[in-house]
């Protein structure tokens, strides 16, 4: 298994730049997830690693070999496509062995490797079927099987769960996590727009936006210490609440005029206060940092998301225990009890600042 290194990688389509110089180091055996909204360039980046897109500038190393000009099949990578891309006229067995057969591998070797991959993925009984006779989840396994058969240094997954229904997506997510361990910790790069997939699967998350890396880090690092407003808003569900604030006399002032004392010193001027839904709690009207009216309650069973409309007409979401039965329309106070984040006008996170507890 090899690691991977992207150094100032750029991509232009004609005159339009889509990847603006990306640096990523991936250790061998790591499970890395590229995550970002659609159009952020995450799939393009993956395809550049695969060799399906040319690299406009910069270098891609797999292991210690520069692979910019190496043919995709010689890079030691295997890719699982979003649409599976199984050959419709071939059986599962032929699909998985196609590459090896075409490259003149002996029949027994192909059969043995296909059988081994089928065993790992538990699809032995499907080997004679055509792709159209398989369910979505089974096709997904075959597509993964086709990658395993090649025994690659690096696995590339391009939104592999997007075409599955919600239940199967959760199950397959789990399978992929298990597979990563089972394959002796192969290096895996996984592209998704779903931050839940990113959080659950990744050893390391790369958050991308508009062809630029916004932050790289372990899932909980990104969750606890987002580098900027974008990452703060993108990672975590429900989305982090952002409150516009002004600073006066060592306090931040909310839009309704209520003021909260600050602890810590910094030169940066905070203009946005970010707080996650589970870091607040509800109180009686008049208590807490500010008050608002409950507009919607989403019941998830174990928890409820209570949407509170503030005096300055912003909707804030607060996570409370399930079964709280907060009636819609009541006025409640919101207590900022947990971890807060502060951001500058440019959207950058400010370290070392928190609200004073009283």
């Amino acid at each position: 298994m090899s690691g991977l290194s992207l150094q100032s990688v750029k991509k232009n389509y004609g005159a339009t730049p889509v990847i603006h110089g990306v640096d990523i180091e991936i250790e061998k055996g790591e499970f890395v997830v590229f995550v970002g909204p659609s159009g952020c360039g995450k799939s393009t980046l993956l395809r550049m690693i695969a060799g399906l897109e040319e690299i406009t500038a910069g270098d891609v190393y797999i292991g210690d070999q520069r692979v910019n000009d190496v043919d995709p099949s010689h890079r030691g990578v295997a890719m699982v496509f979003q649409t599976y891309a199984l050959y419709p006229h071939m059986s599962v067995e032929q699909n998985m062995g196609f590459g090896l057969r075409m490259n003149g591998r002996p029949r027994q070797e192909v059969a043995a490797r296909v059988a081994e991959a089928a065993r790992i993925l538990q699809i032995e009984e499907l080997l004679d079927r055509k792709p159209r006779q398989l369910s979505g989840g089974q096709r997904q396994r075959v597509a993964i099987g086709r990658a395993i058969v090649r025994d690659p240094e690096v696995f590339l997954f391009d939104e592999p769960l997007s075409n599955l229904d919600a239940e199967l997506r959760v199950a397959t997510r789990l399978e992929i996590a298990k597979l990563h361990r089972q394959l002796g910790g192969s290096t895996m790069i996984y592209v998704t727009h779903d931050q839940v997939e990113a959080m659950t699967l990744a050893d390391k998350i790369v958050v991308l936006r508009k062809g630029v890396v916004e932050q790289i880090g372990a899932p909980m690092d990104l969750y606890d210490k987002p580098a900027n407003l974008f990452v703060a808003g993108f990672i975590g569900s429900p989305k982090m609440n952002f409150l516009d604030v002004t600073v006066s006399d060592g306090s931040v002032v909310l839009k309704d005029g209520s003021s909260l004392a600050l602890t810590g010193t910094t030169k940066a001027v905070p203009t946005v206060l970010g707080i996650r839904a589970d870091q607040m709690r509800l109180a009686s009207a008049g208590e807490g940092a500010f008050s608002g009216e409950v507009s919607v309650v989403e019941r998830l069973g174990d928890a409820e998301f209570v949407y509170v409309r503030t005096a300055w007409d912003q909707e804030i979401v607060v996570r409370v225990e399930g079964g709280s039965n907060t009636p819609v329309g009541t006025t409640v106070g919101v207590v900022l009890s947990g971890r807060t984040h502060f951001f500058t006008g440019d959207g950058l996170a400010i370290e070392g600042l928190s609200l004073t507890r009283n």
Partner: protein
């Protein structure tokens, strides 16, 4: 309210079942008119020359196979049949493989001059066959196959390939990119990807092309007539049938028997392949 709504629904004059029956009957009547010449031909081929104009209706009173025997043995239709088979099979093979390859490149690759090539190929549709006969004949003569079945085969292959290239190009262009990319990741080259992945997937178009080129090659008249003018031994069926028309006498019985022998293989082919054929055309239109 509910009662009013029910009254508002207009009751049809005939039930759907009756309407279907009426439409079928109407279509059957049209179909009879359509195939009458064909039926007449088959009927005439089973009558003697004297009986053909005796006005006795479609069912022959004294059916005879004499015309068939005569046509097959004396008029050389047997030999012409195999000439035609040779030309048709050869041209179908050439046309199917070459148009699939052209269609694949034109449909899936972006290269400079692609638009121009498309335009030139399509332009040739508008050139009537009559104008190309002399240059084609000249070309065959210079290649030294102006008097042979190989020449007929080659010339027949050039006649109708444009539509087939467009059919293939249209079909290949809608195939998902991922299939090619997956093959690329598997280390499968351009030619092998075409042969093992793309070509098997284009079966509906292949069938369409095989049927249409078979029809074209089997029935083509002008080109074989010109090429075989000096060498009657290499005539094809369509030219051979024409030879029944003498200067003073037309052997209608022999001609209709020869014509029936001519169209029989085509009809059988279509019966076997019609489902794929219609799929292929429908697929091409959808694209």
């Amino acid at each position: 309210m509910a009662a009013e709504a029910v009254e508002g629904i207009r009751q049809p004059l005939v039930t759907p079942r009756v309407r279907r029956w009426l439409v079928s009957a109407g279509l059957a009547a049209v179909c009879c008119i359509w195939i009458y010449p064909l039926l007449w031909m088959v009927s005439a081929s089973l009558k003697s020359n004297a009986m053909i104009f005796a006005n006795e209706g479609l069912v022959p009173s004294q059916p005879t196979f004499e015309n068939y025997v005569k046509a097959w043995n004396q008029a050389n239709i047997g030999a012409y049949f195999f000439n035609t088979l040779f030309v048709t099979v050869g041209s179908v093979a050439i046309v199917t493989i070459s148009t699939a390859m052209m269609g694949y490149v034109l449909g899936r690759r972006r290269f400079p001059g692609r638009g121009l090539i498309f335009a030139l190929i399509i332009f040739t549709i508008f050139v009537p066959q009559g104008y190309t006969i002399i240059p084609v004949f000249d070309l065959l003569t210079r290649l030294g196959i102006g008097q042979s079945l190989w020449g007929v085969m080659l010339a027949t292959s050039g006649g109708s390939f444009v539509i087939f290239v467009l059919l293939f190009a249209g079909y290949f262009s809608q195939m998902p990119n991922e299939l090619e990319e997956a093959a690329k990741m598997d280390g499968v080259g351009f030619v092998k990807t075409f042969w093992y992945v793309m070509l098997p997937l284009s079966r509906p178009i292949i069938v369409t092309v095989v049927v249409m080129q078979t029809l074209y090659a089997w029935n083509d008249f002008l080109l074989p007539l010109v090429v075989t003018l000096a060498n009657p031994a290499i005539r094809t069926l369509s030219v051979g049938v024409y030879a029944f028309k003498g200067e003073n006498f037309v052997d209608w019985g022999g001609m209709t028997a020869a014509s029936t022998i001519t169209i029989l293989p085509v009809v059988i082919l279509f019966l076997f392949l019609q489902r794929y054929f219609i799929d292929g055309l429908a697929g091409a239109v959808k694209g």
